[in-house]
Assembly symmetry: C2
Homo-oligomer: 354 residues x 2
């Protein structure tokens, strides 16, 4: 199987709507990312567009330009778009047909299954190309049965105060940091991007029938813990506990048994991303910590996403939130998470003693 | 279409696992319930077995006995079983095949689709009978888009501290009570039993892909409010905010905009029903009220389910909880909900002023 891939973002690379692309540009063990198709940013490096870090992932204006500019023809064409509702924007259709005609496997995390779209199915049939719908239901699903209660490995969930705020990225940095400090940590992925990045344990929460969400979470935790000796499982949160379009997070604490939380927050955002016009404000972090406590977990740290803030303003928010909440506040992208290792170790000791 | 029906409970009528049957015995505008098949209780009246109230719903030992004993042959055979996981117990299979062979439409709320089961599909094909899987996904699903924010009709959610605790029944009694007091109330159903009972607005929450739960809830609210002038929408809650097998409830407040809650509780239960062996205790009601407040709603009343308690012990718990929480505590099955009408009116005034 060919694991090389090109990511299509259709002019949205520099927006939060391309968060699947952003995750893959940061790293994937499932796919080898050869480049990105995004005409407004063509010619630049995708890592530099993302966060100023050169990652040797060139951007092209079209699939044709990519095939001409790359040493190897990519095997997969990944839709790098992810947005509320999971419906494919019309503008992506032409590129998908072109990729299928060129024989690339189209990989999609949309709720709408591209393999069931008559135009795409026909293009795939003609060229012999495949369509892989990541969110398509895989049977049988697991129902929660309490086996997670016997898992001895402590769980920590990375929750957030909003969608697309950096939960997965912070979770990945945390796992890497733990490994560097000789703590055997494993990541439990709960979104399509985590799957595309090659996470070995997890499921796609938002594409799961509601009744099976907690059973699938339990199954992922139990499977990961059974596979090898571990010190910590890091659960990727979804949405936010009070997100109007779909609250989520209690599952990880109540059903997954996470007793610690890292709360991801973007102090530069006042309103839920994409819902500004409704005047829906993100609730205060201190109240969120109270809610997490009632659900059954302690907030070990607040991790900040610095978007829309100058470095100085971000540092000021960091100090202000630490003062207000009494909880350590960290900047994962700027400083890494090494500073949190003592808190993690102390949480692991508490859990071992419990 | 023939709306007459017989309910199969396979010996489980007197257990909480037959909660779909219990709801239908209490009342359905979608189906006319002619009888119940349940051999251990055969010969009795199903209403009397349920809660001591005669409802002229005879119980038979078998489908054959039912057809012989009834004036009319029922058109539908409804699986009256509902339990965590939604899988059909093996013991029901024989009865289903028999019903299909006799030409009855089999109606099922299982997650496992009976229409896709080879044995049932073959039996249906031979006799020409139909299989109706209530939980089968109906496209297209709605994603939350904020239209619910412009709905002027106040919403009240009936949440619970456990599963199968009486949320739907209390919601139905509340709607009837409001109607008697000239308050135009409408019920929003969120389970398969509500659908089977004939609710005109709602969806089946636990069979919905997670990402669409809040959009389907919004759609049901918006549709009901658009149809006719209303004073109150009563939302049927599911599960419990901290139920280990699948927390639920925040959706109604955060995404559905319910600003009031009636909290259904069974003081005779110490542990989550069905999870006693794990030692999972139901959290204190006062803490649940605090959690509901943080999510954005006030608890107007606590409604008690008297199971496992003598009438005197139940009254004692009623007084104790009212003292402890400062919230009115009512017994819907014993006393009705007329006593709550002043609280409802005062909530409606607050909402009108907001």
């Amino acid at each position: 199987m060919d694991h090389t891939a090109i990511i299509a973002t259709n002019g949205q690379l520099a927006t939060p709507y391309a968060k699947t692309a952003h995750g893959l540009i940061r790293g994937s063990s499932r796919y080898e990312i050869l480049g990105v198709i995004d005409s407004p940013t063509a010619g630049k490096d995708a890592g530099e567009v993302l966060d100023g870090v050169h990652r040797a992932v060139p951007i092209f204006a079209s699939l044709q330009a990519a095939c001409a500019g790359l040493d190897r023809k990519p095997g997969n064409y990944i839709i790098g778009y992810a947005a509320p509702g999971g419906q494919l924007p019309e503008a992506y259709r032409g590129g998908i047909v072109e990729a299928l005609e060129a024989g690339l496997t189209v990989v999609s995390g949309m709720h709408q299954f591209l393999s069931e779209d008559p135009e795409f199915a026909e293009a795939a049939r003609k060229s012999g190309a495949a369509i892989y719908d990541v969110r398509k239901r895989k049977a049988p699903l697991h129902f929660w049965n309490g086996t997670v209660l016997s898992v001895g490995v402590p769980r920590l969930a990375v929750l957030g105060t909003d969608c697309a705020v950096g939960k997965r990225t912070t979770a990945r940095i945390l796992v890497e940091t733990c490994l560097r400090h000789n703590l055997r940590a494993e990541f439990i992925s709960t979104g399509q991007t985590g799957w595309l990045q090659g996470a070995r344990h997890g499921f796609i929460l938002d594409a799961t029938l509601n009744d099976f969400v907690c059973g699938e979470l339990e199954h992922a935790i139990v499977s990961a813990a059974a596979e090898r000796a571990l010190d910590l499982l890091v659960l990727e949160g979804q949405s936010a506990l009070r997100h109007p379009a779909g609250p989520c997070g209690a599952e990880f604490i109540v059903s997954g048994g996470a007793r610690a939380v890292i709360l991801q927050h973007a102090p530069g955002r006042s309103h839920f991303e994409g819902y500004e016009k409704f005047g829906l404000r993100i609730p205060p972090v201190s109240e969120e910590i109270q809610l997490i406590r009632l659900l059954g977990a302690q907030t070990l740290a607040i991790a900040l996403n610095g978007e829309r803030l100058s470095p100085a303003a971000l540092r000021k928010e960091q100090a202000r939130l630490a003062e207000e909440t009494g909880v350590p506040v960290v900047l994962p992208l700027e400083d890494g998470l090494d500073a949190l290792v003592p808190q993690i170790r102390s949480f692991l000791s508490e859990e071992a003693a419990a």
